[in-house]
């Protein structure tokens, strides 16, 4: 299965996302911000970083890149898309996901090993987990506080679209401890912590992050065989 990882100017975790895809058995494909060609990928990851320096507002410029036009269109027809950190911010800016990610409540960049609770396995990227499963995954961001209006938050809750919540302390002040959400169809997921940094015991706090990548590969294989 071909998993595309987009490199925007200022993307930082693109190499890590590609390594995670490879380690979990997928074929990683480099996508370039300025090229609308998705190169026949079966899924796309928008990696962490500071696309275009994040100078205007996180993800606000990346949203208008040629590759994003293709991704928004493909997501509409079911292409699995995972936005990690800056990728999550871009997905919100692109309106593939509701709400926004704003400056951490404590105003600091924070990097820590964060415990999460899986709230929904009903997505292309979390099918291999079980509800209630606890994951230890690094979080690192300055603008990771998820916010939305009450109606949206209620809708996310009611629709089972909150994919993961922070456990044992909310690292950034996110509303309702939200760490990850999905779209209605379940193919688009945005997550603030970094599963790509938790795929190897040697370099991560756990290997819990691998589940996101094996989930999408399983999802794609299932789709391919049916």
């Amino acid at each position: 299965m071909r998993i595309g990882v987009v490199t925007f100017p200022g993307s930082l975790d693109d190499g890590d996302a590609r390594r995670a895809v490879r380690r979990c058995g997928g074929e990683d494909v480099a996508l370039w911000h300025n090229d609308p060609d998705l190169r026949r990928v079966d899924a796309v990851i928008l990696p962490g970083g500071f696309s275009y320096g994040d100078y205007l507002r996180c993800g606000a410029i990346a949203r208008f890149s040629p590759v994003m036009r293709s991704i928004v269109a493909a997501a509409g027809t079911g292409l699995p898309v995972l936005g990690i950190c800056n990728g999550f911010q871009i997905l919100c800016e692109a309106h593939l996901l509701p709400g926004a990610l704003v400056r951490n409540a404590h105003l600091h960049f924070r990097n820590r090993d964060q415990l999460l609770r899986v709230e929904s396995t009903d997505s292309a990227w979390t099918s291999r987990f079980s509800v209630g499963q606890e994951l230890l995954i690094p979080v690192k961001n300055g603008e990771g506080r998820y916010v939305a209006d009450q109606a949206t938050l209620d809708e996310l809750e009611a629709g089972g679209r909150i994919v993961a919540r922070y456990l044992n302390g909310n690292p950034n002040g996110s509303q309702r401890d939200i760490a990850a959400i999905r779209n209605e169809a379940g193919n688009v997921v945005g997550i603030m912590p970094h599963p790509e940094h938790a795929v190897e015991a040697l370099t991560g706090p756990s290997t819990d992050g691998a589940g996101f990548f094996t989930s999408v590969l399983a999802h794609l294989s299932a789709g391919a065989t049916t």
Partner: protein, 841 residues
């Protein structure tokens, strides 16, 4: 023809040209305001055979400044080369942008530490940010991809209001730049001492990797080659003292007096890294140099001087942020995120297209010539015509007067060993807690949480570990370990020994991970070189460091000198910061510092003497600085490193931690709190527990050895001739010193983690602080039962344990039956627990 008496600068042009300089030899020039001495100015005039133009004067003033010319330090720094031990690993050494060390046949690593002290005091965030940016470009210039950064930081009194201004800004700047650049921060230092109040130290280290054949240099070889400026536009930032020229010439125009601290743009630097990597991969450059201090002036003159060529530069081509800039401003601007590339003409368009792909400006601003002159034109007039080496290499060199500080004999006489000591177990407990919660020894999470340590996915160890460990090769596991250390108090008491102790500590920190130390970098932070007492401290420290490197057999590969760290007549404690690089054949074998397995046996390697002068104990408890610092026995350090590497390689170490600031007590605090697993320690009857816990004797490490491997471990120890004492057993939920005290880890953790948040503000809104304290490290499993009584029989009471610690012989030697550390029978079986997930299983 009539001669008209004109004001010298008038009419012809609003800038000074070479022609004008020839016509108006007697113009008064503001050389003194620019920091040049009268004889230095005369030397310039003699060199050029005329007065310098404004632009030339600006160039000489920055290139001959202490910062660029090393004019006061040069005569001493030579020792690093003269005394350098033979090393076949060294590919590039002192004088290059950074030293380059061969790791194996194919892979090389480059690393360097640099200061950005003064800017970080003036404008903490940008000063620190551009400090990181500058050292990263040095690494790029060697042909390397930057891999990680480290940040040794020093501040004044933690409770001083200005520290609350400077510290958050500097930490924010280091993080803001490094995080956005995508480089993990893998370690550093955080030290407080009132001597740094007006002179905080921001040192930054960067390490990068390159193929052995991919080494780049700065020589602008090949007349006809294009000179390309790559990266950000040039603005009025960072012009510093040269703004004197602007005001002297054009009147006090306030718009020309911009802040002299540069502003960093990490996004552009990230693009610069990627563009340079593509340019290297396509082999498109002949030479390359970063633009840092002294901006274009430095890059142009050094590249031409290195090749012995000349250069013709059209300054009008330089992309400007402010079109009103004068030529001398363009030449000395320290605008960030710029590189100078020397490129064969037919490859120039390829370089420009790679730059365009990354959205970077790249401009041909001139060409290499064989004239031996650096000629710069502006609006078709020649504003600079000088021999490049006169700027780069032929600056003044001073052998400044030196004198031992007059207060040193008094300081030496005032020994900390004579201060009142805690006498009872309760007092020892109280002392340990006060030290653990003191600003220099407390938990540094408040700072390190603001840095990304995961990006790039090769961080195997990062702070709070003794050294950062990076994987270089995913297939083989080849990697490097790095540590930076310094101790200004030791160096104040004895600069020769203090520098060696800094070296020894960094060396030891690398060694405890199991790595083999191979090379050294240094950042020498001192007061004014014009003060003979400071100059003596500097000379002694350099001599100590050079001798130390020779003794350890690892060369200094490069470094940086920062003088004038003083406010008024009071200089900072002399603070050489030393970085050591080590090699690990397989990073999977690295040894972390935290205790992980119940029942592992704790051994103390090395010899403990009653060495308390300059110690953290004397500093915290008595506000005392006096006496002589601990002995620096480098042969012992070498032997210790040998044991650690050998034992790590065969898996005999489940944990290892260097003993330094705060002694054994602090090592135990850090080892137990890392994963929340306690320890019981016992000292022999004739050992003074206070000395055992708080002495800062060098050359020591605390190690945990899995049950069943003690014998093999002790055999290795004996082979290397390192003193070794069994001192305890891992387990329980407290740190206990038998017959003295016991501290539940919860209490210890509260004390250790509370300090920085209390000083610099809670790191988050209500609820976050507590969570932070209880989840660090996240995933750690606290043993359920409290206060487990562990009975340890220390090695069947071998004679070694009964010896006074100061005379401890190697254990294996002292235990004739050769049966050390047999399974001690715990009286109460501690609860069996799973080792916490720590990424090492």
């Amino acid at each position: 023809m009539t001669t008209v008496e004109e004001p010298p600068m008038a009419a012809v042009a609003d800038f000074d040209t070479v022609g004008q300089a020839g016509r108006t030899p007697d113009v008064t020039q503001p050389y003194a305001e620019l920091g040049l001495q009268e004889d230095e100015y005369e030397k310039i005039r003699k060199l050029l055979g005329r007065r310098p133009t404004e632009s030339e004067l600006a160039m000489y003033s920055v290139m001959w400044s202490e910062h660029c010319s090393y004019k006061s330090s040069k005569v001493h720094l030579r020792q690093f080369a003269e005394k350098a031990p033979k090393s076949d690993r060294l590919l590039a050494g002192i004088g290059e942008n950074a030293g380059v060390v061969k790791v194996n046949e194919y892979v090389a690593v480059t690393f360097k530490v640099e200061s950005h002290n003064h800017p970080s005091f003036v404008e903490p965030y940008q000063g620190a940010a551009t400090g990181v940016g500058g050292i990263v470009r040095d690494i790029i210039a060697m042909g390397a991809r930057p891999l990680a950064v480290m940040d040794p930081l020093r501040f004044g009194d933690p409770e001083h209001p200005d520290t609350a201004r400077v510290l958050p800004g500097i930490v924010g700047g280091v993080g803001g730049y490094g995080n956005c650049l995508g480089l993990p921060n893998i370690g550093g230092e955080l030290v407080f001492d009132p001597c740094y109040q007006g002179n905080p130290l921001l040192n930054a280290l960067c390490v990068g990797v390159l193929p052995v054949g991919g080494l780049r240099n700065k020589a602008a070889a090949g007349p006809g080659n294009a000179v390309i400026l790559l990266g950000a536009k040039t603005g009025r930032d960072g012009i510093g003292g040269v703004s004197v020229l602007a005001s002297a010439t054009f009147g006090a125009d306030s718009s020309a007096r911009r802040p002299s601290v540069q502003v960093g743009d990490p996004f552009t630097e990230k693009l610069l890294i990627e563009a340079c990597m593509e340019i290297y991969a396509a082999d498109l450059v002949v030479g390359i140099q970063d633009l840092g201090g002294a901006g274009l002036t430095c890059a142009l003159s050094e590249t031409a001087a290195a090749a012995g060529t000349g250069m013709r530069v059209t300054l009008d081509e330089v992309p400007l942020r402010e079109p009103s800039m004068a030529p001398h401003e363009i030449l000395v601007s320290e605008s960030q995120e710029r590189m100078l590339l020397i490129v064969e003409p037919q490859k120039a368009s390829l370089v420009l297209s790679i730059a365009a792909r990354w959205g970077l400006l790249a401009t041909v601003i001139g060409e290499v010539t064989n004239s031996g002159r650096l000629v710069v034109t502006w609006r078709d007039e020649t504003v600079v015509d000088v021999p490049p080496a006169s700027l780069a290499d032929e600056g003044p060199v001073y052998a400044r007067p030196m004198r031992e500080p007059s207060d040193l004999p008094l300081l030496h006489a005032d020994r900390a060993e004579t201060l009142p000591r805690p006498a009872s177990g309760a007092e020892l407990r109280e002392t340990l807690l006060r030290l653990a919660g003191s600003p220099n020894l407390c938990d540094k999470t408040w700072v390190t949480e603001q840095y990304d340590r995961y990006v790039l996915g090769n961080t195997v160890l990062a702070q709070p570990e003794d050294a950062g460990v990076l994987r270089l090769d995913e297939q083989t596991g080849l990697g490097v370990a790095l540590s930076v250390d310094g101790n200004g108090r030791y160096t104040r008491l004895d600069p020769y020994r203090g520098a060696q102790l800094a070296l020894a500590e960094a060396y030891r920190n690398v060694a405890v991970t199991g790595a083999t130390p191979v090379a050294v970098t240094n950042c020498l932070n001192f007061g004014s070189p014009e003060d003979p007492q400071v100059m003596w401290q500097f000379a002694e420290a350099v001599r100590g460091l050079a001798d130390g490197c020779l003794a350890l057999g690892i060369p200094v590969t490069g470094g940086n000198v920062s003088f004038y760290n003083q406010t008024g007549a009071v200089a900072i404690n002399p603070t050489p910061v030393v970085g050591v690089l080590g090699v690990l054949d397989n990073v999977a074998e690295r040894v972390p510092l935290g205790l992980r397995h119940e029942k592992d046996v704790l051994f103390l390697l090395g010899e403990t003497r009653a060495e308390l002068s300059g110690s953290e104990w004397a500093h915290v408890i008595h506000r005392h600085l006096g006496g002589r610092p601990p002995e620096a026995d480098l042969a012992r350090e070498k032997a210790l490193a040998g044991v650690l590497a050998a034992a790590a390689r065969v898996g005999h170490l489940s944990a290892a931690h260097d003993l330094s600031d705060g002694g054994l007590a602090q090592a135990l605090v850090e080892c137990t709190l890392r994963y929340g697993i306690g320890a019981v320690v016992a000292f022999a009857d004739d050992v003074d527990p206070f000395v055992a816990l708080f002495s800062e004797s060098a050359g020591r490490a605390l190690v945990a050895v899995p049950r069943g491997q003690e014998k093999a471990f002790l055999a290795t120890v004996e082979e290397h001739g390192v003193p070794c004492t069994p001192i305890g057993v891992v387990g329980g939920t407290a740190l206990e010193v038998r017959d003295q005290f016991s501290i539940p880890l919860d209490e210890l953790r509260r004390v250790w983690t509370g300090t920085l948040p209390a000083l610099f503000g809670s790191p988050g809104p209500a609820g976050l602080v507590e969570a932070a304290a209880s989840s660090e490290p996240a995933g750690s499993v606290e043993p359920a039962a409290s206060s487990v009584e562990l009975e340890i029989e220390v090695v069947d009471e071998p004679p070694a344990a009964a010896e006074p610690v100061a005379e401890a012989a190697p254990v294996a030697e002292a235990a004739p039956d050769g049966e050390p550390a047999e399974e001690p029978a715990p009286a109460g079986e501690p609860p069996v627990q799973e080792p916490p997930a720590d990424g090492s299983s």
